[in-house]
């Protein structure tokens, strides 16, 4: 009998019972706790992350090949390399993850073994939103950790990572071998520049993409437009959209991304392709000035107003919705949107009848594409009639790697002809190597088109750290116009925001 007050209790049916509370309950809980903690501690031993004891914030010396313990590498002492990518089998970028785990790692290890070196490679995949992956990379670099070869570094991140000394030029980490690599001849200058900063190569691009105007041929046919429609100016686009609107009021004629909800997709698939059609890119490398409240910026905003204003040629709700981009894809695949400006990503991964997230069964016969016209013929950058924007990501070396020679060997292997060919064996995409592209793209008409017709006329985004915030200012300007502000006012707001970002000295304004 307990010395303490007996507990009154109601059992399940509501009848009162008396129960002595014995300590057994607490002993059980304590034991469970101990077991859980022990299991947790056992299961979560640190993986092979090469985090050194570097003090936070200091980057370890680069390029030294001293392994901890000072063992020499000659004579087959085992070397461990790690590849990280924002890819996971069965999930995000799973083709990349599969390629790395089933081709790259076994083949490279065999190759190294044949040369008498004992190298094991592991893959640290993750599936996260791009910004989160970037944060993870930043934290790892900051503390001297991270994988040896990092795949999937966006081209627009190169500047800020380089400025923070998180990544170093390839020839500093990989040595002279990085400069004399024969693969460079197969990689276009644009692709090389994409992963460069201040004229130095920081990584190897993994590909470039391009943007075109997609259209549903049946929707255009119903509006009296030809199956090989190719607008020559912005006015042509508007005319076509108006024709679609009259003939088929149930369809949204035109979708060109706007607004902040779509993020970088607004700038890269909306604002910038239009801007380069007015003759300037957002940043001028020679004058080192950003476009402010210029006539060209105002032209783009006026075009947005033409689309999303009272004419109803576009759907403003999509631009303001949280999942607007997903919605635009869905509607295009359901033929509820006539014309859509997007990159080859749409073709490969969205409306692809095999495995796309919004498959369009008759994609190959019914979806057409056209070059993006300049505002009027000859008004594009470099006097072009047609324009586009390209971007991509690439792979870099970790300056804190303990085995820089082997890491470079791995990186260059992943960019070799055989490896890149293997990477597109399941799904064709535009790679960074012209030899591989020539051999593999023939199967896919859209990708061939982008590689042959779009790349020669394309432009890229500036690789400066502040680009991200300028991009957000552009998105906001387009959003203000969609929400009803006049292009002139939106341009003024944009210039104010830009001044706070880069300072008045670096802004080209006028008109």
């Amino acid at each position: 009998m307990s010395r303490f007050a007996p507990m009154e209790d109601l059992d399940r049916k509501g009848r009162r019972t008396t129960r002595d509370l014995k300590p057994r309950y607490h002993v059980r809980m304590g034991a469970l706790f101990a077991v859980v903690v022990l299991i947790a501690a056992a299961c979560s031993t640190s993986s092979t992350s090469p985090s050194t004891s570097a003090a936070p914030g200091a980057s370890a010396t680069t390029g030294t090949s001293a392994a901890p313990g000072g063992s020499s590498r000659a004579g087959g002492a085992p070397i461990a390399l790690k590849i990280s990518a924002n890819a996971v089998v069965g999930g995000k970028n799973d083709l990349t993850a599969e390629w790395i785990t089933t081709y790259v790692i076994p083949t490279f290890q065999q190759m190294m073994a044949a040369q008498g070196e004992n190298v094991t490679v592991t893959f640290a995949g993750s599936g996260a939103a791009d910004e989160d992956y970037k944060t993870q990379l930043g934290l790892d670099f900051k503390t001297g950790g991270g994988a040896d070869v990092i795949v999937g570094l966006d081209d627009i991140w190169v500047g800020e990572f380089a400025e923070a000394n998180y990544i170093k030029p390839l020839n500093q980490v990989g040595g002279a071998a990085a400069d004399s690599w024969d693969g460079w001849s197969q990689i276009s200058q644009a692709a090389q520049d994409d992963m460069s900063y201040n004229g130095q190569r920081f990584g190897i691009a993994s590909g470039l993409d391009g943007r075109v105007l997609y259209f549903n041929k049946d929707v255009l046919a119903a509006a009296g437009l030809p199956a090989d429609w190719q607008p020559k100016s912005w006015a042509d686009i508007i005319t076509a959209a108006q024709q679609i609107k009259t003939k088929d009021p149930g369809v949204t004629p035109l979708q060109i991304n706007a607004g902040t909800a779509m993020g970088e997709a607004t700038t890269a698939q909306g604002f910038l392709p239009l801007l380069v059609g007015t003759g300037v890119n957002i940043y001028d490398q020679t004058t080192q000035k950003w476009q402010g409240n210029t006539p060209q910026i105002r032209d783009v905003l006026t075009f947005y107003q033409q689309i999303y204003g009272s004419s109803g040629l576009g759907d403003p709700q999509i631009q303001l919705a949280a999942k607007g981009r997903d919605q635009s894809f869905l509607e295009f695949s359901q033929k509820k949107i006539g014309i859509l400006l997007e990159g080859d990503y749409l073709w490969r991964s969205v409306i692809n009848p095999k495995g796309g997230i919004d498959p369009e069964a008759d994609r190959d016969t019914n979806v057409g594409w056209a070059l993006i016209p300049a505002k009027s013929p000859g008004s594009g950058i470099k006097g072009q009639n047609f324009v586009s924007i390209s971007g991509g990501g690439g792979s870099v070396l970790n300056p804190n790697t303990k085995s820089p020679k082997e890491a470079w060997a791995l990186l260059s292997f992943m960019a070799s002809k055989d490896a890149v060919t293997a990477s597109v064996s399941k799904q064709v995409r535009i790679t960074m190597r012209t030899d591989v592209n020539a051999a593999t793209l023939t199967q896919d008409p859209l990708l061939t088109f982008v590689s042959t017709k779009v790349f020669p006329i394309t432009a890229v985004r500036p690789g400066l750290a502040v680009y991200d915030q300028v991009s957000q200012a552009l998105q906001l300007a387009s959003q203000e116009v969609v929400a009803g502000k006049s292009p002139a006012d939106a341009a003024t707001d944009y210039q104010n925001a830009l001044t706070k970002l880069v300072g008045a000295d670096h802004i080209a304004s006028g008109g």
């Binding site: 509501g14 910004e131 970037k134 944060t135 930043g138 934290l139 900051k142 991140w157 500047g159 800020e160 990572f161 400025e163 923070a164 000394n165 998180y166 607004g259 902040t260 909800a261 709700q317 303001l320 919705a321 949280a322 999942k323 750290a465 991200d468 915030q469 957000q472 959003q479 203000e480 929400a483």
Partner: protein, 292 residues
């Protein structure tokens, strides 16, 4: 409640021993990083770029920048409406009503409703966004379908109301749990006596239950207000729009600071939010103590 005898029940030494483990954990994993973060607020630290390499102390520049931004004031106002509408009026009241209704009720219907309420709390935030976007869609949403194929653009014409309703849906479970637990500590005899004397349910609540549960109510309101104030989930449903109509402070911070990994600026705004929540907390204390 025997407070005058409290000191004899537990010696100071035992009390210190009881508090020590929690104190150590809090000191290392809460107070230390929190103070560090507050310090970041006076720097221009960012995770990438030159500010990562050479962060500078900028004093009150971050604070000045935030407070002089008209969008900041807009965000503050939207957040206050969001907190008051969804937490105070919505979650607390609905949670209490459900806890009261469930207190002496067992059965399949009660269990079903309870599980539904809990499920709404548990489903991951990213999935909840899809649920509500599907529910509130203008052209093919479930709600519009139930309303006879109306085409009401909920997320565009009533965005703040929409996210308030979503937050009530999502957060009522906690209030229901807390009040449910609190109600079990009430002696049934008091309520029994009142009922026999002819008091209606509402009078029982007003005169017996609410006064007894004053502490719990206060705790609940403070917690859910603080949590709702810092809630980022609306971003997934409305992305702060349309056109900043639902740009709550967490969305504002994300947009202006964390999206660009500007941790110094973000820490400054977070500090401002902390001070605002302190004021709100003190306001609650004042209002509820005044009832004495």
């Amino acid at each position: 409640m025997g407070a005058s005898n409290a000191a004899t029940v537990l010696s100071k030494r035992a009390a210190a021993a009881f508090v020590a483990p929690a104190f150590v954990l809090i000191a290392v994993f809460l107070i230390f990083p929190a103070l560090w973060t507050l310090f970041l607020g006076v720097t221009d630290y960012a995770l990438t770029g030159t500010q990562a390499l050479h962060p500078q102390v900028v004093g009150a520049a971050n604070y000045a920048s935030a407070l002089s931004d008209p969008r900041f004031l807009n965000s503050l106002w939207v957040t206050l409406l969001y907190v008051f509408g969804s937490a105070v009026v919505g979650q607390a009241v609905l949670g209490f009503i459900l806890a009261w209704a469930f207190r002496a009720w067992r059965g399949p219907i009660r269990s079903a409703v309870e599980i539904l309420v809990i499920l709404a709390w548990i489903i991951p935030g990213s999935v909840v966004a899809f649920l509500w976007i599907a529910f509130l869609d203008t052209k093919e949403g479930t709600l519009n379908g139930l309303l006879g194929n109306a085409a009401i653009p909920w997320l565009f014409s009533w965005p703040l109301l929409s996210i308030i309703v979503v937050n009530i849906w999502r957060g009522t479970a906690f209030s229901m749990l807390l009040f449910g637990g609190a109600l079990t500590t009430l002696p049934p005899s008091q309520l029994e006596a009142a009922r026999l004397a002819g008091a209606s349910g509402w009078q029982q609540i007003r005169d017996i239950v609410l006064p007894s549960l004053r502490g719990h109510i206060m705790t609940n309101l403070l917690l859910i207000s603080l949590w709702t104030f810092n809630d980022f989930a609306p971003f997934l449903i409305t992305a702060g729009g349309p056109n900043f109509a639902t740009d709550t402070l967490p969305v504002y911070i994300f947009r202006n600071a964390f999206r660009n990994l500007q941790f110094g600026y973000g820490a400054a705004i977070s500090t401002i939010m902390l001070l605002i929540n302190l004021v709100i907390g003190l306001a609650y204390l004042r209002v509820l103590r005044a009832r004495d």
